[in-house]
């Protein structure tokens, strides 16, 4: 009985992890394909598709564009989110509930609708599409995210620390910059990196709001029109590698908290 359960558990784990990893393994494996199609049989390994990726100017500039949009738009999102969270958490504001709801509303609306709304608006007032408009769109979707994460980590227990700082002579800005922000740093960093990965990977808004300069997901999208191609595998693998490195760095450097087991008497 016990044995049977263990086998069942192990089998389920194997099946689910297999399912989860199947596409990724296929993607990475066939990025080393020698032939022209990323389908079995595998012949290789070869690095020629990686070469093709890095010598493709459109791809490398799209990669650069994506990074820029992600890093800068996330900075703006984090700043707006932090300030709003600070205002709501530290001041008693009558009628705050509908305003909070308005700020977090973009979280529950499809990116397609947000992107399309911006497209018609920019169209109407004659703003041309560019990386800037993409960035604006990404701030719209990431500000509520940053706000929610940072607001959730602002508890009352920090209130007295801030009061102590004020009591010792710090003014409002000094309290915010030297006490509140450093205390909230883990959640601010988490919000920033989550926002970076969302923006970096966002397709539909970037697709609708960009024109000549495009971001990486949009460039990959146009690559897909050529059908199955090991070059797409290679780009995908590079993007995956970059994301995984960022995530693992975050995990092992910033959020590594040695958690000794609770020893209660």
């Amino acid at each position: 009985m016990h044995r049977l359960r263990t086998i069942g558990v192990a089998g389920y784990l194997l099946l689910l992890y297999g399912f989860i990893f199947l596409p990724v393994v296929t993607l990475v494996l066939f990025s080393f394909q020698e032939g022209r199609f990323p389908i079995p049989p595998f012949n290789g390994p070869s690095l020629k598709w990686y070469q093709a990726v890095f010598s493709d100017n459109k791809l490398t500039s799209a990669l650069f564009n994506s990074l820029m949009v992600a890093l800068i738009s996330s900075l703006v999102s984090c700043l707006l989110g932090f300030l709003a969270a600070y205002g709501f958490a530290r001041y008693r504001l009558p009628g705050a509930a509908p305003i909070k709801a308005a700020i977090t509303a973009p979280l529950t609306v499809s990116y397609l609708i947000i992107g399309f709304g911006l497209l018609v608006t920019f169209n109407m007032i004659g703003v041309s599409r560019s990386l800037l408009t993409v960035g604006i769109g990404h701030v719209v979707i990431n500000t509520p995210l940053c706000f929610a994460i940072i607001y959730a980590s602002m508890g009352d227990h920090q209130l007295n620390i801030e009061r102590a700082a004020r009591d010792l002579g710090a003014n409002d800005w000094q309290v915010m910059l030297r006490v509140t922000a450093p205390m909230l740093l883990p959640s601010i960093i988490a919000a920033y990196f989550l926002s970076v990965t969302f923006s970096w990977d966002e397709f539909i808004i970037a697709f609708l709001l960009s024109r000549f300069d495009v971001t990486l997901p949009v460039e990959i999208w146009s690559l897909l029109r050529s059908g199955l191609n090991p070059k797409t595998n290679a780009v995908g693998s590079v993007v995956f590698l970059i994301s995984v490195v960022i995530v693992l760095l975050l995990e092992f450097i910033i959020f590594r908290r040695g958690a000794p087991r609770d020893r209660k008497s």
Binding site: V9, Y12, L13, L16, Y17, F19, I20, L22, P23, V24, T26, L27, F30, P38, I39, P40, L83, A84, Y86, G87, F88, Y91, R92, L93, P94, I99, A102, I103, V109, S110, L112, I113, F116, G117, L118, L119, V120, T121, N123, I136, V139, V140, T143, F147, D201, F203, I204, P217, I220, W221, L224, L228, T232, N233, G236, F240, S243, V244, V247, E251
Partner: protein, 284 residues
């Protein structure tokens, strides 16, 4: 000590930047979209007279309604399958994996999450296509003679979606399971419940609200997604976002696209209200 009114002004000053941004780039664009949905397109120009013709035409044209039904069917299917697959995985990680390896198991379970969204659908295409990995393996094993036509069907779309949402739901359900006080489990065991009874009467009911939040998230993200159905489902059985994109990119019919977007939003809002009301009921 500054007056209460002065303190409030200061507080609002912190909130204003985010509020202005939301107003300018979210609320106003939404209003503009509503306006567009009431206008008409005639040839290449806009007719700025107000009418509900675009909404009326939604119910007249069967392929629009069919798109909405496809969207709802696929979303419901994906949500149910994903929960059914993810809950046991989250439970095994939380209960059966030793605490030392839990974080690692979790990171592994959601690692493919970090592949680009577009690329992930493409990777499933590699697996599911006519000459792809899956068909070749099944033929080599002698299970089938002729390759299965999975790509460009609803099965492919659902597979791609389930892959994504299993990872998302495993994360949310796991978080829900580990934040339960271990004393609930101890108390149930102490009062004579066996493993299954503890799960059924205590753990499962306590995690249902978290599962519902995850299901709602799945619903919203799934029903509004364009990429997965476009890459994996192809042009058969279009879903609503695909139809909206067709109006925007092919036909440049912004008024119709706007009306369809608002219909999509209404559907999502109904789901949101239902979910919120259910959660509220659950709490009392």
């Amino acid at each position: 000590m500054p007056s209460e009114a002065a303190l409030q002004r200061k507080g609002w000053a912190f909130v204003v930047p985010a509020l202005l941004w939301t107003l300018a780039f979210f609320i106003i664009p939404f209003a503009v979209m509503v306006m567009y949905s009431l206008w008409q397109r005639a040839g290449t120009s806009l007719v700025k007279t107000w009418s509900f013709d675009n909404y009326a035409s939604f119910f007249e044209k069967s392929h629009f309604v069919a798109g909405l039904i496809n969207s709802l069917e696929i979303t419901a299917l994906v949500t149910v399958i994903s929960i059914v697959l993810a809950y046991p995985l989250a439970w095994i990680i939380a209960e059966r994996v030793s605490p030392r390896w839990q974080r690692m198991a979790l990171i592994l379970a959601i690692l493919p999450f970090w592949t680009s969204y577009v690329v992930r659908s493409y990777a499933w295409l590699l697996v599911l296509s006519r000459n792809g990995y899956l068909n070749q393996t099944l033929i080599n094993l002698g299970v089938i003679d002729t390759p299965l036509e999975i790509a460009a069907t609803r099965v492919a779309t659902v597979t791609g979606f389930v892959h994504f949402f299993v990872m998302l739901l495993t994360l949310t359900i796991y978080a829900n399971l580990v934040q339960l006080s271990p004393n609930y489990r101890r108390a149930a065991a102490d009062l004579g419940a066996n493993g299954f009874q503890t799960f059924w009467h205590v753990i499962l009911p306590l995690t249902i609200p978290g599962v519902m939040v995850g299901a709602f998230l799945t619903f919203v993200l799934c029903i509004g997604d364009y990429i997965t159905p476009q890459i994996l489902g192809g042009n058969n059985e279009l879903v609503l976002p695909q139809i909206i994109m067709l109006q925007i990119t092919r036909r440049a019919d912004f008024p119709t696209a706007a009306a369809l977007s608002i219909i999509l939003m209404v559907v999502i809002s109904i789901a949101y209200i239902a979910c919120a009301r259910w959660l509220k009921m659950e709490r009392t």
